[in-house]
C-alpha cells in the first residue's frame, strides 16, 4: 500500500506539477485547492504527510497548519512556499519542514523520504 500525501495548493498548475512529480516517485497523491477542502480530506483519509502552501485565499496556510495539529497531532506537515519570511513566524515552527519553492524539487522529495520513508 503506497504512502498517501495530500497537497494543499491553490494554484492549479503548481498543484498538477507537484502531483505528477511525486506520483513518479511512487507516492499516492490527493489534492485540495483550499485550506477548508484540505481539512475535510484530512478528517476523512488516513494520510502519511501533508504538503502545505502558505498564502491562500479564504484560509491561510498557517491557520490550516494549526487546525491540522489539533486534528492529527502526529501527521507530518511540510510547508512548501515561495515566501521565505514566514520562517520567522513562530506558527510555522510547528511544521516538520519549511521548504522554499524551487524549480529543483529534490529538496522536497528528500525531505519527504526523510520524514516518512520510501513510498
Amino acid at each position: 500500500m503506497n504512502k498517501k500525501i495530500l497537497i494543499i495548493e491553490d494554484d492549479t498548475n503548481a498543484m498538477m506539477l507537484y502531483k505528477e512529480e511525486l506520483e513518479k516517485e511512487g507516492y499516492q497523491i490527493l489534492t485540495a485547492s483550499s485550506g477548508i477542502e484540505g481539512l475535510s480530506i484530512i478528517e476523512e483519509e488516513k494520510l502519511d504527510l501533508v504538503i502545505l502552501d502558505l498564502r491562500m485565499p479564504e484560509m491561510d496556510g498557517l491557520e490550516v497548519l494549526g487546525k491540522v495539529l489539533v486534528k492529527r497531532k502526529n501527521l507530518p506537515v511540510v510547508i512548501f512556499t515561495s515566501y521565505p519570511e514566514y520562517k520567522n513566524n513562530f506558527l510555522s515552527w510547528a511544521a516538520d519542514a519549511y521548504i522554499i519553492k524551487s524549480v529543483d524539487l529534490s529538496e522536497l522529495k528528500n525531505k519527504i523520504k526523510e520524514l516518512i520513508g520510501n513510498p
Partner: protein
C-alpha cells in the same frame, strides 16, 4: 568713449547683443555658459583676446577650480587654433557645438581643467586675492612669468603678454574668475575692451548663478526621488519575489518534464502551461514597473469632476452590463495635483466598485469640502470586504479576484498620499464598500 565714433558704439551693441543671445539660449547649462563667454572673449569679432580661461569658486571650501580654457597653449598652437575659432568662421557658426570637442581636448583647456587653488592659502599680495578683495578687474602689463604674483598653477599657463583678471560676481558674492591675455598677437588691451569684459562678466555671472542654483535643485530632487524609489522597492520586494518565483518554479518544473518524456500530448500540454505562466509573469512585471517607477507628481490644476466623469465614461460598458446606477453628487471643483495619477486613483476605485457590485447595484459618488480638504466618497452596494481582510486590501498583491494582481488600491493609496491626502476604506460584508479620499485644497510641490 563712444562720443565721436558711431562705429565703436555699433560694435559694442553688436558684441553684447550676440553674447547675451547665446547666454540666454544656453541658460541652464554651466558648460554652455562658459563656452559662450570664453568664445566671446577670444573671438576676433568680439574682444579679440588670444586666450581666456575661467575658474569657478566654491564658497564652502574656498577653492577655485579650473573649468574651461580657450586658446592656444603656446606659439606653435597659436596659428592653428586661432585661425579655426577666429576670424575665419562666420559669426553664427562660432558658438556651434562642433567646435567643442576640439576645444576640450586642446592642451590649454586640459591644463586649465587641472587647476585647483585654495584661496585661503594664497599670500595677500597675490593678484587673485586682490581681485577677490577689491571686486574689480585687474590688468597686468608685460607680465614676467617668473616674477608675477600668481599661483604656480596659473604661471604655468602664462606667455609673455598683458593679462586681465576679472571677477565674476553675483550680488557681490564671488562665482568665479576670468583670465584673458593678449599673448602671441600682443594687440594692446584698450579701455573699451576692459569695459566690454566687465559687462560680459556681469551677464555671465547672472547666467551662472541661475545655472548653479538650478543644478543644485536638480541634484537634490534626484536624490529625493532615488530615496523614495528605494523605499517603494523595499515595500514590494517580498511580494515581487513571490510573484516571480511562483511562475518560475512552474515553468522550470513543466519544462523539465518535457525533457523527460516522449508523450506528445503531455509535451503540448506543458508548453501551453509554460506559455500561460510566461504571460502571467509579463503582467506582473508591467504592474511592478508601474508601481515603482512612479514619476514625481506634477502639480497642475485638475478638475476632479471632469476626471471622475471620464473614468465613468471609460467603464461604461461594465457599468451597463451589470445595470449599475451611478448616483453623482459632485460639483465641478479645481484642485492642484497630477491629473494622470489622480485619474488612476479614481479608475482603480471605481473599477473595484463596479466589479464587486451586485447586478442592479448602485455606486454613489459624492464630493464636499471639509476643512482644508476636499472629500470624495465612492460607495458601492457590492459584496463588501470582511473586517479581517479590510486591513490587507491596500497591501500590494492582495486580491480575492483570480484575474487581478491586487495592486489597484495599493497604487491608489500611494498616489493619494503623494498628494498629501488620505485614503480610507470602510466596508460591511454583503452591504458594500465606501472609499473616502481626502485631497488637500492646496498641494505644495516640494
Amino acid at each position: 568713449m563712444f562720443d565721436n565714433n558711431f562705429n565703436d558704439f555699433k560694435r559694442a551693441i553688436f558684441i553684447i547683443h550676440n553674447i547675451d543671445k547665446e547666454l540666454l539660449r544656453s541658460c541652464l547649462d554651466i558648460e554652455d555658459i562658459l563656452h559662450v563667454t570664453l568664445t566671446g572673449i577670444t573671438a576676433g569679432y568680439f574682444l579679440g583676446f588670444s586666450r581666456a580661461f575661467m575658474l569657478l569658486y566654491e564658497e564652502d571650501n574656498k577653492v577655485l577650480t579650473g573649468k574651461k580654457g580657450i586658446g592656444p597653449f603656446d606659439i606653435e598652437e597659436a596659428n592653428l587654433i586661432w585661425q579655426k575659432i577666429g576670424d575665419g568662421i562666420p559669426i553664427e557658426k562660432l558658438f556651434e557645438n562642433g567646435k567643442r570637442a576640439e576645444l576640450k581636448n586642446s592642451r590649454f583647456n586640459l591644463s586649465v581643467e587641472k587647476i585647483k587653488i585654495n584661496v585661503e592659502e594664497l599670500p595677500e599680495e597675490d593678484y587673485i586675492k586682490k581681485v577677490i578683495k577689491e571686486k574689480r578687474i585687474q590688468v597686468l602689463y608685460n607680465v614676467d612669468k617668473n616674477n608675477v604674483k600668481l599661483p604656480e598653477q596659473i604661471k604655468f599657463l602664462l606667455q609673455p603678454s598683458d593679462i586681465v583678471i576679472s571677477p565674476i560676481l553675483a550680488e557681490s558674492s564671488l562665482i568665479g574668475i576670468i583670465f584673458a591675455d593678449n599673448a602671441f598677437h600682443r594687440k594692446p588691451i584698450t579701455e573699451e575692451t576692459l569695459l566690454f569684459l566687465s559687462l560680459i562678466s556681469i551677464h555671465t555671472a547672472l547666467s551662472l548663478e541661475i545655472a548653479i542654483k538650478y543644478n543644485e535643485i536638480k541634484k537634490i530632487q534626484k536624490e529625493l526621488l532615488e530615496k523614495e524609489k528605494f523605499v517603494a522597492i523595499g515595500k514590494v520586494a517580498s511580494f515581487v519575489t513571490h510573484e516571480i518565483r511562483n511562475p518560475l518554479v512552474k515553468i522550470g518544473g513543466f519544462s523539465r518534464q518535457i525533457l523527460e518524456t516522449d508523450d506528445q500530448d503531455k509535451i503540448k500540454r506543458n508548453i501551453k502551461i509554460i506559455y500561460n505562466e510566461i504571460l502571467q509573469l509579463e503582467k506582473v512585471f508591467d504592474r511592478i514597473i508601474n508601481l515603482i517607477s512612479f514619476s514625481e507628481i506634477s502639480i497642475e490644476e485638475v478638475n476632479i469632476y471632469d476626471l471622475i466623469k471620464e473614468v465613468i465614461e471609460f467603464l461604461n460598458d461594465e457599468i451597463k452590463e451589470k445595470n449599475i446606477e451611478i448616483v453623482f453628487d459632485l460639483q465641478p471643483i479645481w484642485l492642484k495635483g497630477d491629473s494622470i495619477q489622480l485619474k488612476e486613483v479614481f479608475f482603480n476605485i471605481i473599477k473595484n466598485a463596479v466589479e464587486n457590485n451586485k447586478e442592479n447595484g448602485k455606486i454613489i459618488i459624492k464630493g464636499e469640502i471639509t476643512g482644508k480638504y476636499f472629500k470624495i466618497t465612492i460607495e458601492d452596494t457590492g459584496i463588501g470586504i470582511s473586517e479581517e481582510d479590510l486591513k490587507d486590501v491596500v497591501k500590494p498583491f492582495f486580491s480575492k479576484k483570480k484575474s487581478g494582481l491586487g495592486l489597484g488600491l495599493t497604487v491608489a493609496k500611494e498616489i493619494v498620499e503623494r498628494h498629501k491626502g488620505e485614503l480610507m476604506i470602510e466596508s460591511k460584508i454583503n452591504e458594500g464598500t465606501k472609499v473616502k479620499i481626502f485631497l488637500p485644497m492646496e498641494v505644495k510641490n516640494e
